[in-house]
C-alpha cells in the first residue's frame, strides 16, 4: 500500500536547538496512527512542521510528501489548499482554538468556502449538516452561538466539524481530549472512531496517553526526544514492547486490576534539547544501558514484520534489517 503522507528524515530546530531529529513515518490511506510520548518529545511539532504551521524561526529540513507532492517549502497557496482540505488538524484546547469573536457557524462556513466553494445558504445548510454529523444538539440554532457559550466538549465537536468541512483524507488530532473531562473524552474518542468509519479518512492521533491511542489506533509510534523509538501495531506494542522507554511508559501506568505494586517509574526526566546525550537519548534513564549506547544513536531494527525499535538490545528479525534512513 502506498503512503498517503510520507515523512522522511524530518528535522526541526528552534534557535539552533533540535526539536525533531530525523522522523520517518508513513500514513496509509484510511489508517489510524497514534503518536505517543511525553511533553517535549516532538509529537506535535512533527505535524505542525509537516503542515508548515511552525513559526518562521523554526528550521525544518527533510521531506514531507502527500501523494508524492512535496509539502516542505511549498508555495503558500499550495499549502493553504492542503491544510483544511486534504489534511485537517484539530488541537488540544478547543476553547481557545476557536476565534472568540466569530460565530461558530461562520467559522465552519469559512472552511466550506475555502475548500468547497460553498457560500450563503448552501454553506449554512452544509454547516448545519456537519454539526449534526458531529453530534451537536440543536444544530440549526447553535450555528449562531459564540465559542464561549459552549462547553469544552461541544467546542471540540465544532473543531471537528470545521476539520470535516474540507472532506480531508487525513485528520491530525493533537491531544484532542486532554483538556476534557473523562466522560467527555470518551464521547470525543467514540465520535472520532465513528467518523473514521463513515468517511474512511486516515487519523493521526497525538496523545500522551497510551490508553487513548491504544483504543483509537491501529498502529502506534512511540516518540522520545525528537525521534521515533518504537513503532508497531497496537497489539504488538502492548504484547511485546521492545524499547526500554516503551516498557517504562507501560510500567508507569497504574494498572486497573491485579495486586497493587510499586509503579516502575522511569527515573530522571527528559533530556533538555541543549543537553542531548551523544548516543541514545534514553540511555541516561535506561536500566539496560551499556557502553555502546552512548557511542551513537541506535538505528531502527525490525523485530517483527511492521514492528521496529531503535535500541541496541532489540533483536533483529533474522532476515531483514533496516537502517534508520533507508
Amino acid at each position: 500500500m502506498t503512503a498517503l503522507v510520507a515523512l522522511r528524515d524530518l528535522h526541526v530546530a528552534f534557535d539552533g536547538q533540535a526539536a525533531l531529529r530525523g522522523i520517518d513515518l508513513d500514513v496509509a490511506p484510511g489508517e489510524a496512527v497514534g503518536l505517543v510520548g511525553e511533553s517535549g518529545c516532538g509529537k506535535s511539532v512533527t505535524w505542525l512542521a509537516a503542515l508548515g504551521l511552525l513559526p518562521a524561526k523554526a528550521k525544518v529540513t527533510g521531506s514531507v510528501t502527500l501523494d508524492s507532492q512535496q509539502l516542505l517549502g511549498a508555495r503558500p497557496e499550495t499549502l493553504d489548499r492542503v491544510r483544511g482540505g486534504r489534511i485537517a488538524m484539530i488541537f488540544q484546547d478547543p476553547a481557545s482554538s476557536l476565534n472568540p469573536v466569530i460565530r461558530i457557524g461562520r467559522q465552519v462556513e469559512e472552511a466550506l468556502r475555502l475548500h468547497r466553494g460553498m457560500r450563503g445558504a448552501a454553506a449554512r445548510a452544509e454547516a448545519k449538516r456537519l454539526f449534526d454529523q458531529v453530534g451537536i444538539p440543536d444544530a440549526a440554532r447553535r450555528l449562531d452561538a459564540w465559542p464561549h457559550e459552549l462547553s469544552g466538549g461541544q467546542n471540540q465537536r465544532v473543531m471537528i466539524a470545521i476539520a470535516l468541512a474540507g472532506r480531508p483524507e487525513l485528520l491530525v488530532a493533537d491531544e484532542p481530549t486532554t483538556a476534557l473531562d473523562v466522560t467527555i473524552q470518551a464521547q470525543i474518542l467514540t465520535l472520532l472512531q465513528d467518523l473514521r468509519r463513515e468517511t474512511g479518512m486516515a487519523l493521526v492521533l497525538i496523545s500522551h496517553d497510551l490508553g487513548v491511542v491504544a483504543e483509537a489506533c491501529d498502529r502506534v509510534c512511540v516518540m522520545y526526544a525528537g525521534r521515533i523509538v518504537e513503532q508497531a501495531s497496537v497489539d504488538a506494542l502492548f504484547a511485546k514492547p521492545t524499547h526500554p522507554y516503551t516498557r517504562g511508559l507501560l510500567g508507569a501506568l497504574p494498572p486497573l486490576d491485579g495486586p497493587r505494586r510499586r509503579l516502575a517509574a522511569i527515573p530522571g526526566g527528559v533530556p533538555e534539547p541543549w543537553a542531548m546525550p551523544p548516543g541514545c537519548a534514553f540511555a541516561p534513564r535506561c536500566g539496560d544501558r551499556m557502553g555502546a549506547c552512548d557511542a551513537a544513536m541506535p538505528g531502527a531494527v525490525m523485530v517483527a514484520p511492521g514492528h521496529r525499535a531503535a535500541c541496541l538490545l532489540a533483536t533483529p528479525k533474522p532476515v531483514a534489517r533496516e537502517a534508520v534512513h533507508a
Binding site: E77, R83, G84, L98, L114, P137, H148
Partner: protein, 313 residues
C-alpha cells in the same frame, strides 16, 4: 442593557462630581483669588469689596453649595476677569483646540495603528526594530521638547513654517505634528503588543490549519481581536480631545482651551478653570462610556447572553 447604562451613568456622574469638588478645593487652597486679581498693592477695602461681590467672603462650604446649585441650574459662573460667562469664554476657544486635536487624532490613528500592525507582522525584523525605535523616541520625548525642536528646525533654521500664532493653516502644522507624533508612538506600541498577543493565540493556528490564506488570517481573524484592547487607548485619546493640547498650545501660542486654562489658573479665575475642568471630565467620562459600549460590540464574551444555548444535560 438599561441596567448597564444606568450603572455606568451613575458612575460617570460620581466621577464628575469628584473632579469638580477636587478642583474647587485645590483652587481655594492655592491662594486668594481676590488678592491675585486685584494685584498685590490694591487697597484692602477694594479687595474686600471684590470678595463680597464674588461671594468669596462666605464660608467655603457655603460657596461650595452655591456653586453646585448653580451648576445644576446650568450656570457655570462668570469670569472674575472680565465678567463674561465662563461657558462662553470656553466655548469660543473650543474650535481652535479641535482644529489641532482632531487632525492630530487622525495622525495618531492613521500612523500608529498601521505601524503597530506592520511591526507585529514582521516581528524582530528590521522594520519592527525601526518602528519600535521611533515609537520609543516618540513617546519619551516630552511634547514641549519636540515642539521646540520642530520650531527650531522648521521655523528658525529653515523658515518654512511659522513658529506660533493662528493666522493661517500653516500655523497649525507644527502643533498638529507635535501632538500627533507622541500619540502615534503610544498607539503603535500598544497595537503591536495587542497584535503579537493575538497572533500567538491557538485560534490563529486553527485558522492557518484550515487553509485560510495568511492575509485573511491577519485581517479576518487577528485584527478583530487585537482591536479590543486598542480601542481603550483610542478612547482615551478621544477623551483628551479638549484638554490634551495644554502644553502644545502654550508652546505655539495657540489660542485654544488649553492656553485659556493656563492663563485662568495663573489668574485664579475660578469660574473659568472650573468650567474647563468640568468640560474635560465630561468628555473623558463620555468617551469611556463609548469605549465600554464598543467593547460589547467587539467582544461577544462581554455581552449579556440572553440566548445562552440551552445545555443538553
Amino acid at each position: 442593557m438599561i441596567r448597564f447604562l444606568g450603572s455606568r451613568l451613575l458612575r460617570a456622574a460620581i466621577t464628575i462630581v469628584m473632579v469638580v469638588t477636587f478642583a474647587f478645593v485645590v483652587l481655594r487652597l492655592s491662594g486668594d483669588p481676590a488678592q491675585i486679581i486685584m494685584g498685590a498693592d490694591a487697597p484692602p477695602e477694594a479687595v474686600e469689596a471684590f470678595r463680597a461681590a464674588w461671594g468669596l467672603d462666605q464660608p467655603v462650604w457655603v460657596q461650595y453649595f452655591n456653586y453646585f446649585g448653580a451648576i445644576l441650574q446650568g450656570d457655570l459662573g462668570r469670569s472674575m476677569r472680565d465678567g463674561r460667562d465662563a461657558i462662553v469664554l470656553v466655548a469660543e476657544r473650543i474650535p481652535a483646540t479641535l482644529a489641532l486635536t482632531l487632525p492630530a487624532l487622525a495622525i495618531k490613528i492613521g500612523l500608529g495603528i498601521p505601524a503597530g500592525i506592520t511591526a507585529a507582522l514582521h516581528r524582530n525584523s528590521f522594520i519592527d526594530r525601526a518602528v519600535m525605535m521611533l515609537a520609543v523616541a516618540g513617546f519619551t520625548i516630552p511634547s514641549f521638547v519636540l515642539g521646540l525642536l520642530l520650531v527650531l528646525v522648521f521655523a528658525v533654521q529653515l523658515g518654512w513654517l511659522p513658529s506660533g500664532g493662528q493666522d493661517s493653516w500653516r500655523h497649525a502644522i507644527l502643533p498638529i505634528i507635535t501632538l500627533g507624533v507622541g500619540g502615534a508612538a503610544v498607539l503603535a506600541r500598544f497595537t503591536r503588543s495587542a497584535m503579537l498577543e493575538v497572533l500567538g493565540q491557538p485560534y490563529i493556528r486553527t485558522a492557518s490549519a484550515k487553509g485560510v490564506p495568511w492575509r485573511s488570517v491577519v485581517w479576518g481573524h487577528a485584527l478583530p481581536n487585537a482591536a479590543i484592547p486598542t480601542v481603550t487607548i483610542v478612547g482615551f485619546m478621544v477623551g483628551s480631545l479638549i484638554a490634551g493640547a495644554v502644553v502644545v498650545e502654550s508652546v505655539f501660542s495657540w489660542p485654544g482651551v488649553g492656553r485659556l486654562l493656563v492663563v485662568a489658573v495663573g489668574n485664579r479665575d475660578l469660574a473659568v478653570v472650573q468650567c474647563i475642568l468640568l468640560l474635560v471630565a465630561m468628555t473623558m467620562v463620555t468617551s469611556n462610556l463609548i469605549v465600554d459600549l464598543l467593547y460589547g460590540v467587539l467582544d461577544p464574551r462581554l455581552r449579556n447572553q440572553p440566548r445562552r444555548a440551552a445545555g443538553t444535560a
